[in-house]
């Protein structure tokens, strides 16, 4: 087996495992080797805060268990046991999802060293399918951020250009799949944390319908917005993973009862000849134009043109209330953050810090613990949320934001009366340089990254981001986003599979054929004594 195992998609890898061309142990070892070669060395042996010199996509690598599970799958296959389609295919898990036997940190000092005594439902389902877990991926602390620069354990770097952000909060999962460290990964999406990283790393990411995937055992950020979803390099691979982790869970009272089936079939049907004929696609006028980078717009327009040529009916639709979505989102999200993060109190799990003066009461221990355990962005959002929920302001902020949420839902409802799916760029820009946004000078600037992804979270509808090509001005990946009505996730895989096939044909191959040599780039960065590599982490 000389062909590079790590460049196989999950579907291809599954086929080769089934055909006995390679073993799961070989597949897992190849990905572990790739992680070693690209994640870099610790920048400071004495402290984890500096991260690693390379991609730094993983916070924990689960070598022993992953190889054990792989060996068990190989043995089961030898015995002729019936196995799940993805059995033996390795996967990375965002470190916001709890895992028995591996640390879970949420990229926060609050949970450094904590071991969950139980598995999340999605983790249990990966185990049931016998998919070896490669480890836990980096993120913005408690999933709050758009760059992964807010991790307490160092920034993750973009495999297309190590000096740039991989997006966030799920920059680790996106960088891992984009750089061939893993064929699949799990992410979470509260305002774009799966889709925006997918867009800027040239990978695929899906935010399913709210309630499509169980959140039992997923560290909560904003409970009316959070959703777990797949990350991969192809639309089909995300569909396959969604089928593994989706479906009803009695442990999550917000979980839908719909079965998670038909997604892979939809991806294949969309990619088939004539698969997009007659599909009504709505271009969101309000999510283009001002604030969107020229190369992003160009690739987006070309993608829409491909859809039209393939027989889709393209129309423009207006969503006048989307302009208020960002403000409503920040009020709702931060309010729910302030409530959900109250549990980190230095009593039940994680860190406890005692006040300097030794004057101990439970309240002072809590305040000292939270001061030492939370990073600046988590504190900022918690304080904002406390403000929005406080007496005298509740109606003006949280209450009003919930009304805007209704208006955004109405915009979607009206748009879906004339369209099967909606389309927009995923992110206004390509990946920007690490450390380039000064959030203290303008805290809203960073939040504008999520302008195109937030409306779907407010409305609970599903969305997918897939690569639309490289922007001409900087050679970096551009993402295109499709949105569908609630519970119509299959439509995303259908149109996504279709556009992906058209783009692959038009470009003479998948986007990753142009990915630079990441191993080489990581070595060069280490050799240059990593100038600037820790700047983002120190901010």
């Amino acid at each position: 087996m000389t062909q590079n195992i790590v460049e196989l998609t999950a579907a291809e890898l599954a086929q080769k495992l089934a055909d006995r061309e390679i073993t799961s142990v070989e597949a897992v070892q190849a990905h572990l080797d790739r992680i070693s070669a690209t994640d870099g060395e610790p920048l400071d042996a004495g402290s984890r805060s500096a991260g690693r010199s390379g991609l730094n996509a993983f916070l924990h690598v689960n070598t022993e268990e992953a190889l054990t599970v792989a060996a068990e799958v190989d043995a089961a296959r030898d015995r002729g046991e019936e196995l799940h389609e993805l059995a033996g295919v390795p996967i990375a898990v965002k470190d916001l999802i709890v895992t028995k036997g591996q640390p879970t940190t949420a990229a926060s000092k609050m949970l450094e060293g904590w071991m969950s005594p139980y598995d999340g439902t999605v983790t249990q389902r990966l185990r049931a399918a016998r998919m070896p877990m490669l480890g836990k991926t980096n993120l913005d602390e408690f999933a709050m951020g758009s760059t992964t620069e807010h991790s307490a354990f160092g920034v993750t770097r973009n495999p297309w250009d190590l000096s740039r952000i991989p997006g966030g909060s799920g920059g680790g999962s996106a960088a891992a799949v984009a750089s061939f460290q893993a064929p699949l990964a799990l992410g979470t999406d509260t305002g774009g944390s799966i889709r925006q990283p997918a867009a800027v790393t040239g990978s695929v990411g899906v935010k399913p319908t709210y309630g499509s995937v169980s959140r039992y055992g997923v560290i909560a950020m904003a409970s009316s917005l959070d959703q777990v979803g797949p990350c991969s390099r192809t639309v089909l691979d995300s569909a396959l993973l969604h089928e593994v982790v989706g479906g009803h869970d009695p442990q999550d009272s917000t979980s839908l009862t719909d079965p998670a089936t038909g997604y892979a079939a939809a991806a294949r049907a969309g990619a088939a000849e004539g698969g997009l004929k007659g599909l009504r696609v709505g271009v969101l006028k309000d999510l283009t134009g001002e604030g969107f980078q020229a190369g992003v717009e160009q690739r987006f327009r070309e993608a829409v043109e491909l859809l039209r040529e393939a027989g889709a009916e393209v129309v423009e639709v207006e969503t006048p209330n989307f302009r208020y979505a960002l403000g409503a989102y920040y009020l709702i999200m931060s309010s729910e953050v302030s409530s959900n993060l109250a549990k980190y109190d230095g009593v039940r799990f994680g860190r406890r810090t005692l006040p300097d003066d030794g004057h101990l009461t439970i309240e002072r221990v809590m305040a000292a613990t939270r001061a030492a355990g939370f990073g600046p962005e988590v504190k900022r959002r918690t304080i904002l949320g406390t403000y929005a929920l406080s007496a005298g302001y509740y109606d003006a902020y949280y209450g009003s934001a919930q009304k805007v949420r209704t208006l955004v839902q109405r915009d979607f409802k009206a748009a879906f009366e004339t369209c099967d799916v909606l389309v927009s760029p995923t992110s206004p820009t390509t990946a920007f340089p690490l450390g380039s946004v000064d959030e203290h000078a303008d805290p809203m600037e960073m939040y504008l990254n999520d302008i195109a992804t937030i409306p779907t979270n407010l409305a609970g509808v599903p969305a997918i981001s897939l690569p639309a090509g490289l922007a001409p001005e900087d050679g970096l990946p551009v993402g295109v986003q499709f949105m569908a009505p609630a519970r119509q996730d299959a439509r995303l895989y259908h149109v996504g599979g279709g556009l992906e096939a058209l783009l692959t044909q038009a470009n003479g191959g998948p986007i990753w054929k142009d990915l630079p040599d990441v191993v080489r780039a990581v070595q060069d960065l280490s050799d240059a004594n990593v100038p600037g590599a820790t700047e983002g982490a120190a901010r």
């Binding site: 709210y210 009272s253 208020y324 439970i362 305040a367 900022r380 406080s390 902020y397 949420r405 509808v461």
Partner: protein, 98 residues
């Protein structure tokens, strides 16, 4: 909309149980003011006739079957606690001494 001062933030930080230095209080007041200004129009958009949405999908609470499951043991539940004693979480003094 009222101005967010250092004292506002001190009050909020106390409510949220986050110890903050004088410098952090000042900086946060400025940042919060900017964010609140940027999102202020949210309170002017929707009229009284628009209902609030607290949840993205019209779900009814889904109850699981009322059967005995396998919960964590006390030992497991305490495994990540900073301090424990006799099968219970242990905390510093709850009440201040006078």
């Amino acid at each position: 909309m009222s101005e967010i001062t250092r004292d506002t933030v001190a009050h909020l930080a106390a409510l949220a149980h986050i110890e903050m230095s004088e410098e952090q209080l000042q900086a946060t007041a400025g940042e919060l003011q900017q964010i609140v200004q940027a999102v202020a129009e949210v309170s002017e958009v929707a009229g009284d006739d628009v209902p609030a949405t607290s949840h993205p999908l019209p779900l009814r609470n889904v109850m699981r079957e009322d059967v005995v499951g396998e919960p964590l043991t006390a030992e497991e539940a305490l495994s990540g606690a900073p301090d424990a004693e006799d099968g219970q979480f242990k905390v510093p003094a709850i009440l201040e001494e006078d």
